[in-house]
Each structure stands twice: as structure tokens, then as C-alpha cells.
Amino acid sequence: MDMNFNQHISAQFNADLETIRNKMMTMGGLVERQIAAAIDAICDGDSAVVEEVIRREDEVDRLEVAIDNACTQVLVLRQPAASDLRMVIAVSRVVRDLERMGDEACKIAIHAREYTQSSHSQICQQAIRSMGAEVVKMLTGALDAFARADVSDAVDVVRNDKLVDQQYASALRELITYMMEDPRSISQAINILWILRAIERIGDHARNISEQVIYLVSGTDVRHSSLSEIEERTQQ
């Protein structure tokens, strides 16, 4: 018996799964660009970019629906099992997270309009920049881990989420200081707060994607587990 375990007996099944994965990656790339563009827009104040981000949000939504439908199709027609089943389930969950990230990117872009128009535009710019760069890196890392089915890369992303959370906490403290010093900046600070919050959420979603990578590869469901638990369970 000579066989290639990478290939299904049904070539069409192979093709279907491949399509789903590729579409998810395309969507991931799009969301990645959206986030990067939104964060750049805050710092550069480029309103054209803002409009572009808001416009492309629709595209992200459409991709989510299309991929989800494709997943349902495979579930119904092929009754996938084991790794195939985990793949379809993981993709279906990942696109949900990606769509939420897209929403967050859109929110950042909307807030960016007001942020750039205000006089206090220097507040927390450093934090926004570094956190933004960090979450984009996380998303890239999570998608790479998914593509390579690499658990340790996925665990790294989860670890990075911790750092982003810490940055978020310190940025909050900075904001509070501003607000206490100058009550006139409060409305602007709240705006910035929303932006920071959105970036932090994007980090959480990137972490969720990494958790799905762990599920995809090892079959263990690590959602709602602490970092140490995840590290412990992926060691086995």
C-alpha cells in the first residue's frame, strides 16, 4: 500500500479545503493592511487613508460571509473528521475574529478623523504607535502560525498579548494623568481611550486566532486559559 497522507482520495475535497484556507489568508492579509493603515492614519493624519479603511470594511465583511458559507458547505457535503474537521472549525472561528478586527480597525479610523483634527494630537502617540505595531505583528505571527501549523509561534503570539495588555495599562495611566492636569483634554483623551481600547481588542483577537492554531494542530481547546496553562498544555 503506497499512499500519500497529504492527499485525500477525493481531489475535490482537497481543493475545497485549500480554497477555504487561501481565502482566510487573503482575508487575514486584508485585515492586517486595514489595521496598519488605520494606525498610520492616526499618526500621519491622512484623511484619504481613513476613508479608504472605512470603505474597505465592507470587503472584509463580505469575505467573512463567503468563507463561513464555504465552511458550512464542506461540513455538509464532506462530513470532515479529525484534522479536516478542526481545520474547518478553526477557519470558521478565525474569520469571525478577523471580521471583529476589521471592525476595530474601522473604529480606529473613525476616531482618527477627530484625533487628527484636535490640538492635543500628541497625547499617547508613542503608545498608539508601539501598541499598533505590536498587534499588527501579532496578527502576522498568528496567520503565519496558522499557515505553518506551528504551535510554538502561536504560543509566542499569546505571550505578546500579555505585553500589549501591559502597554495598554500604562497608556491608560498616562491618559489619566493628562486628564487630571488639563480637564479640557478630557474629550480628546476619551477619544484616544477608544483607540487604545480598539488596539487592545485587536491584540485579544490575534490571541484568539493563535488559540485556534493550537486547536487545529493538537486538538486541545485552550480558549479562556491562562498563558501558563497554555504553555503547559502545549508542552505535552
Binding site: 500500500m1 503506497d2 499512499m3 500519500n4 497522507f5 497529504n6 492527499q7 485525500h8 482520495i9 477525493s10 475535497f13 464532506r78 462530513q79 470532515p80 473528521a81 479529525a82 484534522s83 479536516d84 474537521l85 478542526r86 493538537s218 486538538g219 486541545t220
Partner: protein, 267 residues
Amino acid sequence: MTILKNHDTKGVAFVDDAKLTARHVNVFYGDKQAIFDVSLDVGANEVIALIGPSGCGKSTFLRCLNRMNDTIDRCQVQGDILLDGEPIYDGSMDVVPLRARVGMVFQKPNPFPKSIYDNVAYGPRLHGLATTRVELDAIVEYSLQRAGLWNEVKDRLDAPGTGLSGGQQQRLCIARTIAVDPEVILMDEPCSALDPIATAKIEELIDELRENYTIAIVTHSMQQAARVSQRTAYFHMGQLVEVNPTEQMFTTPEHTLTEAYITGRFG
């Protein structure tokens, strides 16, 4: 591909409350070895599914459990198989009462060319389970009810069993097996000749029978194994590759071969 040599079975092959215990079972057809060192427990009141590609030895193993292989001349069974701790291949174990305790349902519905009543009554008559006609009637009715066939056939018990539809015939065969009050029921691809509705009925029946009986089922349909069993055992080329709880088997199998078979990469 992965070469299986002296490997250990992955997963959990042994349970605490074992009804049937197989240890180091080897089966030969003449010079050809069909089963290689299989050790497996079948727990009380559980449904265990045996899956694997054609010719993997799952049916052969199943047929060892009630010594059905005795009827094949060149078949030789080594190792220990115990029913409630008693070795069944021992000289002291008579095959007739053994088969009354470990019943079997076959791939193709095979009712006797007799009436529905006589089909079900055959086993009880054979073993003298009923002394009066009233008792026999009661056994027949109970068995047909357990098999979910009573309402369909109660008005025509004298009609030939072979005149029923495929699904009904298979339920008649199950009723016939139940009629001798076995402890274990072995099923060798019981639905492979049936349509989906009949299959669903049999699967429903298997689920109900689990309260009273221990069931080992060989199936080619992985969906069926997933639906009816609590544990699944995967056989490959005469070896027991993996045994695990069914839900684990179908989401995260441990062995590459199991994974490849379950996901339809060969088989």
C-alpha cells in the same frame, strides 16, 4: 507510509469493568496471519465500534469473540479471550452456550426461510428457554418489541420472515438474537445492506439496547461509528492501531494512520 512493526496500540485499550477481554490475540488463516497481537477490552454496557479499511481484520476479530471462526476449517486463534473472566477458547467452555451468551447479527439480513414467529422462537426453542407456548409467545413479543418491530409485524407473525423489507429483516435478526437473552451482541456491518432510514432505525435501536447489552459493532461507515459508539477501535492490516473514546477518535486521533483513515486519505 508508516510501517507498523511491533507497535503498541495507541489510546486506552483497557477498561475497568470489562465484559470481554482479549489479550495478545493472533489469528491465522492457514499460513496467513490475519490478526497480530491484539489486546482489547469491551466494557460492560458500552458500544464499541471497530473500524478500519477492508481486510484489516476487524470482522475476523469480532468473529473470534463468539468463536464463529470455529466454523472455518483453516482458521486458528491464539491468545486469550475471556468473557466475564472465563476463557472462551478453553476446553471447558462449550461453544453452544457461549454463542447463546454472545449473540451475533450479520452484514446481510439473514432471516431463516420460516415465519416471523419461528425466526424469533428458533433460539429459545433450541436452548429450551420456554416450556409452554405462552412463555414462548411472551419471549417472541418481548424480543420483537425490543427490536422495534412488534407494531409492524404483530398481525402477520405467520408471514415468512424473508418477505419483510431489508431493514425489517435486519431488525428481525436482532430480535432473533435478543430472544436468547445474550449478554453481548456482536454486529458485523449490520447496516451495510440497508437504506438510510432503515439504518437510522437500527442505530436508534443500538442506542436503546445499550442499557441491557454490551455491543461490539464492525462498521464501514465512520459516521455510524461516531453516532452509535462510546469507544472506537481502529484496525489496520491486522493490528489494533488505536482505541479511544469516540469523540476523541473523530476530532483528535493519536495515530497518523487513524487520522489518515478517518479523514478519508486512504481506505
